[in-house]
Every structure is written in structure tokens, then in C-alpha cells.
């Protein structure tokens, strides 16, 4: 099992620091990294199976993540489900109680609400109540910027982070997409794995071959600087790095911390960065109001107050349903330009 890649995570302005990271054959898109993780884990563990809508056969899912899996593993292990998210997440819980490891594809993260009771009431609470472990993973294709409207663009991670008993992971790079998925499948608890649709085919980077696991709950300092911290996760990491590159050209150097896991939060990594720079901007695509950023800001106010040189700032989506029309969606959503502007204000504070 390898734990560190030494790669540039697919981001051009970060220098890779190892030779293997330059291996062309291991430059995978974010979506290919997910598919690879699924296939390799199914080869490794006969208890791992896939469930979801339209995932089987030559169709292979709405985004083709599971394409070829039924061919390789059969319909027994790649199970097309009728349209009943509440029902099949509940069934996955029963399979998990019997020792299987179902990986559920939610066709879009937006549809996960149909299964809310099964997730937050049943699966999340089960171990605390009677110690029946529920080792399933829900893969939830989330986030927007793709002009897909209110019901194909959502980022509902905060709802699930609020439910005791769940783990919530949000990979931002191809390597983490693989490493966190393997960790999620092997975890003995229900894990919601929010994969970022905007990165699927637009982000490519070095992905270690074979059994590569990124532990849940460990953040990653992707870029180091002393002037301020940009703390983010998911698709906004790419935006944050773009903004940080532009700031660096102006002599402002930012820590860019990728949380990688929303629950459990890597509080040490957050506090270490906040105490180093004294200025923090938290960024996520999800609605800012009562979002994950509020928890991060509260943690910093609570435990790093004396180190702060400026108010903790947040940048998230507006408190509106994700709008469809391009100018409206762009107004809704954080991006590199908005991050740059607030970061600059912070640096000059």
C-alpha cells in the first residue's frame, strides 16, 4: 500500500517531486481513477458489489463510471436497480449487515434526498444503537458549473456531515478519487463519497497503480505559503489553486489546504494552517449559509483566535437553488476569480 504520490495532483502549476509521477501511462482523468478503484477493489474482494440505476451492461451508468464492470464481474455483482433510492439504499444496509460491501451509485447527488431516511435514520445510527456495522459506500456525483440546473448540480454534503454515524469524503484530485474510494469501501461505516462532476473528464493527473489508499480524515496541504490560508475541498480546489497561482505572481503566498474529508474533519491541519498564516478563507461550492465553512470558521475562532490577523472569511454558493442559465449559475458559484478577490482583500487586511 502506497500512501504518498509525490505528484502534482493534476495541477499544472505544482511541480511534481518524483519521477514516477511523470509516468504518462498513469496520468488518469478523475473519472478513470474512480472506475479503476472500483474494478480493482472488485477483483480484490468478492464481497464488493455495485448497485444503482442504469449502471449495468454496455450502458455503464449515466457517466459511464461502471462501464465494463458487468462484463467482467457479471450481473450478480453489478446490479441494476429499479428507480427506488430509498428502497435500494435500505437493501444495501441489509447486505452490509450480512458482511457484503455494497457500493451504491446515486445517479446524481441531487437524488440522494429520496433515500434520506435510509441513510441518516437507519444506516447512520445503527452501530451506535446495536453495534451492527454497515459498511456501504454511496457514490454521489455532485457539483455544478455544467449548466445542469437546480436538480443536477447540488452539493448536499453538509446535511450528511450533520448526521452522527456517517463519514463524508470529497476528493479533489484523480489520485484522491482512487485512494479515498478504496478507503471508503474498506471502512466499516456508511460513507458518502461525493465525486465532483466538473472534474470528471477535465482534470487529469498521476494516479498510483495498485493498492493505493488515502486515509479518511487526513487533509492535504497542496500548496504552501505564509500570507493566508485557503481551505477548501472538491471541485473548488482547482479554483483555489488557480487563484493562488495568480496571487503568488503578485507576491502573495497562500497555503492551500484540501480537506479531502468533510467528516471527520482534520482539525489539526486546519488549526496548523490558520495559526501559521493568521488569515483564512474557506471555500466550497455548496451553499455558504450553514455550510461546512461555518464549522471550519467556528473551529478557528474557538481554537486559533489569538493567531488571527483578520476575520475568517467564507465563500460558498448563494442561498438560492442552483440556477440554470450560465450568467446566473456563474453568479451563484464560487470560482477562481472570486477566490482571488477575497484572498487579496484578506492579504491586504
Amino acid at each position: 500500500m502506497t500512501m504518498s504520490t509525490g505528484s502534482n495532483f493534476g495541477f499544472a502549476d505544482i511541480e511534481p517531486n518524483s519521477q514516477e509521477a511523470l509516468d504518462e501511462s498513469r496520468q488518469l482523468t478523475y473519472i478513470a481513477a474512480i472506475s479503476e478503484a472500483l474494478r480493482e477493489e472488485m477483483e480484490r474482494d468478492p464481497n464488493v458489489l455495485m448497485m444503482g440505476e442504469d449502471i449495468a451492461g454496455s450502458f455503464g451508468g449515466a457517466f459511464k463510471v461502471t462501464k465494463g464492470l458487468e462484463e467482467q464481474f457479471g450481473a450478480r455483482r453489478v446490479m441494476n436497480m429499479p428507480m427506488c433510492e430509498l428502497g435500494f439504499v435500505g437493501a444495501a444496509t441489509g447486505m452490509a449487515l450480512m458482511g457484503l460491501r455494497p457500493v451504491i451509485e446515486m445517479q446524481f447527488a441531487d437524488f440522494i434526498t429520496s433515500a434520506f431516511d435510509s441513510i441518516v435514520q437507519y444506516a447512520a445510527t445503527n452501530y451506535y444503537r446495536w453495534q451492527g456495522a454497515v459498511p456501504w459506500v454511496i457514490r454521489a456525483p455532485s457539483d455544478g458549473g455544467l449548466r445542469s440546473g437546480p436538480f443536477h448540480s447540488q452539493n448536499p454534503e453538509a446535511w450528511f456531515a450533520h448526521a452522527p454515524g456517517l463519514k463524508v469524503v470529497t476528493p479533489a484530485t484523480p489520485a484522491d478519487a482512487k485512494g479515498l474510494l478504496l478507503a471508503a469501501i474498506r471502512d466499516n461505516n456508511p460513507v458518502i463519497y461525493f465525486e465532483a462532476k466538473p472534474l470528471y473528464r477535465s482534470l487529469k493527473g498521476y494516479v498510483p497503480p495498485g493498492d493505493y489508499v488515502v486515509p479518511i480524515g487526513v487533509a492535504n496541504l497542496v500548496r504552501s505559503g505564509d500570507d493566508l490560508s485557503i481551505i477548501t475541498y472538491g471541485a473548488q480546489l482547482r479554483e483555489a489553486l488557480t487563484a493562488a497561482g495568480r496571487l503568488a505572481a503578485e507576491g502573495i503566498h497562500a497555503d492551500v489546504l484540501d480537506l479531502r474529508t468533510v467528516k471527520p474533519l482534520d482539525t489539526e491541519a486546519i488549526l496548523t494552517s490558520a495559526r501559521k498564516t493568521g488569515k483564512v478563507l474557506v471555500v466550497h461550492s455548496a451553499t455558504q449559509l450553514l455550510g461546512v465553512g461555518a464549522e471550519v470558521a467556528s473551529l478557528i475562532a474557538d481554537q486559533a483566535f489569538e493567531w488571527l490577523d483578520a476575520p475568517v472569511r467564507r465563500l460558498g454558493g448563494l442561498d438560492v437553488p442552483v440556477p440554470f442559465s450560465p450568467p446566473l449559475e456563474d453568479a451563484y458559484r464560487p470560482n477562481a476569480e472570486k477566490i482571488y478577490q477575497i484572498a487579496k482583500e484578506l492579504a491586504e487586511f
Binding site: 428502497g87 435500505g90 452490509a96 431516511d117 452501530y127 451506535y128 446495536w130 454515524g165
Partner: protein, 324 residues
Amino acid sequence: MTKTCLTRDQQLELYYWMRLTRTLDEMAVALWKQGRGVGGMFSQRGHEAISVGSGFALGPDDVVAPMHRDHGCYLLRGLTPRRIMSNLLGRATGVTRGRDANMHGVGDLNFNLIGFISHLPQSLPVALGAAMSFVYRGEARVAMTYVGDGSTSEGLFHETLNLAAVCQAPYILIIENNQYAYSTPLPQQMKIEHLADRAAAYGIPGVIVDGNDVEAVYAVVKDAVDRARAGGGPMVIEAKTMRMMGHAIHDGAEYVPRELLAEWERRDPVVTYEARLMAAGVVDQVEIDEIKQRCAVEITDAIDYAESSPFPDVATVTEGVYAL
């Protein structure tokens, strides 16, 4: 009443489990009325033939997800009265170590028991998932679960039965039709007479059984279990009965007509089975009294054990949210 195919020992066992369930219920109700209970409590009265007759039809490797009126099933699967009573009283020695209330969450995979949650019918798909795991692994096991008349109105009832049919899962669903969902009577819940009729919508056989006749329940469930084990797929069984007390201990159920209760009181599943066994010469009064005494001793011991058990250590409140 059905013609029996049971041995005398089996009949005595059925009677014992029903009497134990009834005794547990009566002593628990008394405990709550004395103010010694913790939180709420759901009476089983009237449901004993369903939970005992159905649970008795399963093999030890089969999986069952009972609900709050199925104490008989929990008991005969192997949960002791001590662990049950300790759970009712929120003690560290209860099945959920004080984590979940009354009979909620009383699961123990050592006995192939899956606990339920308040959001009925959330156990339906979970038990189905267990059945799907048996198909996945090629095991000759079945999964069974229960639902009341009330939660057959939930969308998840439809989702689960449809999925069970699609998967041809070895899955048995018992509808305990006790005529009231809390205070709402059947005519305000649905416009059909028999809930078993709903099974036809999914291509699943649906049968009706007298839920107050333990041998009839056993016989119909045993057929369903054998059929499912042989690969015949899921089955829905509607057991018709009456909830003889309120929804929970706090509820006087004044909304239920007294004459309806009186009519069902004459069909009490424990009393009628006892009379039937006596009339058939299977047991005499001495044996019946012995069984009753044995049950009273067991439940008294369970109450003593529970009341002298410690409450959970507050220092453990955050422990066990996540599996290692």
C-alpha cells in the same frame, strides 16, 4: 382452526413462548403503571400468535427483522428476558446498552436478529437486503420481516415489494393488520379490504391468515419459508388481528369502540390456544399452571436483574458511534 401437523412438544413450545410473551407484557405494563418504567412502552397484547407462530417457522440461520409488537419473535430467537427488560429500562446490560428506547434497535446478529427504527417500514428493505445477500452467496437462507397496517401506506412498502419481486429474493413480509395506525382506523387508511391484495401489484403471492391462531400462522409462514428457501421468491402474508391496548403505554385508545375490543377479547390468542390444547387433551391444568409459573419466575427474575443493573456510564456516551 387449522388441523395441526405439529408434535406435542412443538405445541407446548408455541404455548410457552406465547405465555412468556404475554407475561413479559403484563408485568411490563404493571411496571410502567407503578412508575418504574423508563420512557415509553409498547404492549404486545393480541399479537403473540403472529410473532411466535412466524418466528417458530424460521431456521436458526434465517434472518428476521421484527418490530415493536414482536416480543415473541425476539424471545424465541434467543434474546433473554433479562436483556430485553434491561433494554426497556435503559440499563447498560440491555441489548442497546441504553442507546435505544424500549424495543427499538434490539438487533443482535448472533441470533440473526435485525433491530428496527421508528420510521416504519424502514426494516422492509433492510431485511430484503439480507435476503439479497443470500442470493448473492448462494446460501439456502431466508429473511423475514414485519409491518403494521399503517406503514403499508408508505412509499417504501411499494419500493421494497417491487424490488423483492424483481430480485426473486427469499423474503417473507408479514403484515400485522391490527386495524389501527395509532388512532387512525383502517377505513381512513385505505380503500381495500385485504392488505394481502396489494401483493398482486408486484407479482407476489399474498395470503391471509387468522393472526390470533398460532398454528395457522405457523403453517402459512412455514409454507412461505420452504417455498422461498427452494427459490420460489417472496411472499406477503397478512395476519389479521386487533391491537388490544393503546399505541403505547400512554395511550388509553378511547378512540377504539369498546365492543370491538370485547369481540376480539373472546379471540385472545393465548387464552384460546390454551383452551384448545386442554380440550384436545394435549395438556392438563397442572402443566398449564407449571408453564405459567415458569414464565412468571423468568420475568420476575428479568425485572430484578434489570432494576439492579447499572445505567450506562456517562463517560461512554460518545463511544461506539463508528465501527472500527
